[in-house]
């Protein structure tokens, strides 16, 4: 960790997350992966420590720490279990923060405290079967009936979907000439159905659910027609979180590979004594430090209230590639053992891939970066 530049509080928060990750998460991560389970108690324990609302203001029940602290927590938790990292990132960054930022005062006071304290879980429902990166192609819509807003449609791959109490949902809005608006749906509302869990390559401890809405009563979040603005600004911050998560997964792979290189003896000496392994590990560590530095840079910009769209995209693009590439190389260093479930290298590898896809694919990150670089000519109709 580039701890030299962190404040005392940031260091202590990172240290707390490290200890929690090592003691409460890492020893169970393989089992959660195998059982496709994330125990509610773990989220409750995180909530009790204030880790479910790290960057939520204290007057809304949060811990009132900054975004840098939040990324430090995400990195540490993801180092132990990336699925829990996803649950935490979606809960806080995608689920809770849009209400903090865009909710009315009444919504903030009512909805945020139970989320910030971990009594309730939040999620974010944007993607549909036919609408991913092109969020505007969504089909879900609301209708106003007798003063009530009713939402109908199917949202896909809703992280935390099966556990969440509070859903930030996006749908086409007649009050905004059928442009998307943001809404809040509550678990148990009429017409809401859990349609099933996605079978995934990795991150098995994280719930990824399809949710059906059939004339489900919802409340509006923000102004009519602001859906895309709210979704994109949420993802601006969310990307920094995913960059931190990817850095954590890569760090876990490095720690494992270094430990193995010191212990595994081949041809009469620990394999760390061989140049081929040394070169790999040196490069791996350097790239992880670079990923961390890009992540902290984007987080600092966000804390300073400065634009961080490009920087967040760069952090995510780079860190996710580092995680995907080096978790594969960690398997290589462990050889046949790395390919087995006796070691966590294969789990890191499976968990890392999605960081290049969710909260904006790497291709979208490059598009964001290119538009910043080239301006109008990078946009085409």
């Amino acid at each position: 960790m580039s701890i030299e530049f962190l404040s005392d509080e940031q260091r202590e928060i990172g240290e707390l997350a490290r200890r929690f990750a090592d003691e409460q998460v890492a020893p169970q991560a393989a089992r959660w992966d195998r059982d496709h389970e994330l125990p509610r108690e773990t989220l409750t324990a995180l909530g009790e420590l204030g880790l479910m609302g790290v960057c939520v203001p204290p007057e809304l029940g949060g811990s009132g720490a900054d975004f840098v602290s939040y990324t430090l927590v995400l990195e540490q938790i993801s180092r132990a279990d990336a699925g829990l990292g996803t649950a935490l990132a979606v809960h806080t960054g995608a689920g809770t923060m849009p209400i903090v930022v865009h909710g009315s005062e009444e919504q903030r006071q009512r909805l945020v405290p139970p989320l910030a304290q971990g009594h309730e879980i939040a999620s974010f429902a944007l993607t549909e079967a036919g609408s991913g990166s092109d969020a505007g192609a969504m089909l879900s819509r609301v209708e106003e009936q007798g003063g009530e807003l009713l939402l109908s449609g199917t949202k896909q791959w809703v992280s935390n979907g099966s556990q969440a109490h509070n859903f930030t949902v996006f749908a086409l809005d007649p009050a905004a000439a059928m442009k998307p608006s943001a809404f809040v749906a509550r678990r148990g509302a009429a017409g809401m159905t859990l349609l099933g869990e996605a079978e995934k390559l990795g991150q098995h401890s994280s719930s990824t659910a399809d949710i059906g809405f059939d004339a489900t009563p919802v409340e509006r979040l923000g102004e009519p027609g602001d859906g895309m603005k709210i979704a994109l600004s949420t993802l601006d911050g969310g990307r920094i979180g995913i960059a931190a998560q990817a850095t954590g997964i890569a760090q876990a792979a490095l720690d494992l590979a270094v430990g193995y290189a010191k212990e595994r003896v081949a041809f009469g000496r620990p394999i760390g004594g061989f140049g081929a392994i040394q070169q790999k590990l040196a490069e791996m560590q350097t790239e992880i430090e670079a990923a961390r530095a890009l992540t902290l840079r984007a987080a600092r910009l966000k804390d300073a209230g400065l634009s961080h769209t490009i920087e967040g995209a760069q952090a995510k693009l780079f860190a996710s590639r580092v995680a995907r590439h080096w978790t594969g190389e960690a398997i290589q260093i462990l050889g046949g053992y790395g390919y087995t479930k006796d070691f966590p290298a294969e789990r890191y590898f499976r968990d890392a891939k999605i960081t290049e896809i969710y909260e904006g694919t790497s291709e979208i990150q490059r598009l964001v970066i290119a538009r910043g670089l080239l301006g109008e000519i990078a946009r085409e109709d």
Binding site: E9, E12, I13, L16, F20, L49, L51, S63, A65, S69
Partner: protein, 264 residues
């Protein structure tokens, strides 16, 4: 009642510890942390306070050290201490255990605690003795390596000590000084709120003069124990590896080796 917990800032566990050969003191330039044994002492104080077995009004963390030691106090209050005292004075630098214990006892005298708790050892100096020195100056009874504390009612505690041969059960009257081992409890996690609020809890910075410390009794030059040198432990001889080709022969070789050394 008041519990004072003695805490210390030490090099982080991940830092390779070394002696600065020019001063004979530990090189404390790297990453530092609160002495892990002291976190058990704070936890013990918090458990006594929260259990209600003893009416504890406040838990006060006390340290002696340079400016950076403030961080150890912030950590101590994030783990539950109500306030902290930082004894910092250039004249104290280089004090040996006896001088450090004397200086801390002067701060404690003013606080008049009913119980002083501390970790049984520091992760750097590992002298194990500071509690005994403090107790001697305060004229309090003292226990070391305690792994269980029960309140016997009134001003009496029953403690279990971890000794080499087993466990001692000892009753002790308050006020007392007790050093605890890491088996006594599992220190809690500080909450984020506690971390964020740590700097808002009262921290008194006191000098040697404020505490009535006799300057002639502290500091490197006035310490009775003087470091004169250090050396690496002797290298172990390389062991002998016996390949197990014929087990009967291997056993014979091992027995012969042990016999040669009069080990059997």
């Amino acid at each position: 009642m008041k519990i004072c917990v003695l805490v210390k800032e030490v090099p982080d566990a991940a830092v390779q510890k070394k002696i600065d050969p020019s001063t004979g003191r530990m090189d404390r330039s790297g990453e530092k942390n609160l002495n892990p044994y002291d976190t058990h002492a704070i936890e013990a104080a918090m458990q006594l306070k929260e259990s209600g077995a003893m009416a504890v009004d406040e838990v006060v963390a006390v340290t002696m050290g340079p400016d950076s030691a403030e961080r150890a106090l912030h950590k101590a209050v994030s783990l539950g201490a109500d306030r902290s005292i930082h004894l910092a004075d250039d004249s104290l630098a280089g004090s040996d255990v006896a001088a450090t214990g004397y200086a801390l006892s002067k701060v404690l005298e003013k606080e008049a605690p009913d119980l002083v708790l501390l970790g049984q050892q520091s992760d750097d100096g590992e002298c194990y003795t500071i509690g005994a020195v403090v107790a001697d100056h305060l004229e309090f009874p003292s226990l070391t390596q305690v792994i269980k504390i029960d309140v016997e009612g009134g001003t009496k505690l029953r403690a279990e000590r971890q000794a080499e041969y087993g466990y001692d059960t000892v009753e002790i009257n308050l006020p007392a000084v007790i050093s605890v081992g890491d088996a006594i409890n599992e220190p809690r996690y500080p909450s984020l709120k506690a971390i964020m609020g740590a700097k808002k809890k009262p921290l008194d910075k006191v000098s040697a003069a404020d505490s009535g410390i006799d300057a002639a009794k502290v500091g490197g030059d006035n310490s009775a124990a003087q470091w004169t040198g250090s050396s690496e432990p002797p290298k172990k001889e390389a062991g002998r590896i016996i390949e197990d080709e014929d087990t009967a022969e291997t056993v014979d070789q091992i027995v012969a080796w042990l016999d040669e050394r009069k080990l059997i």
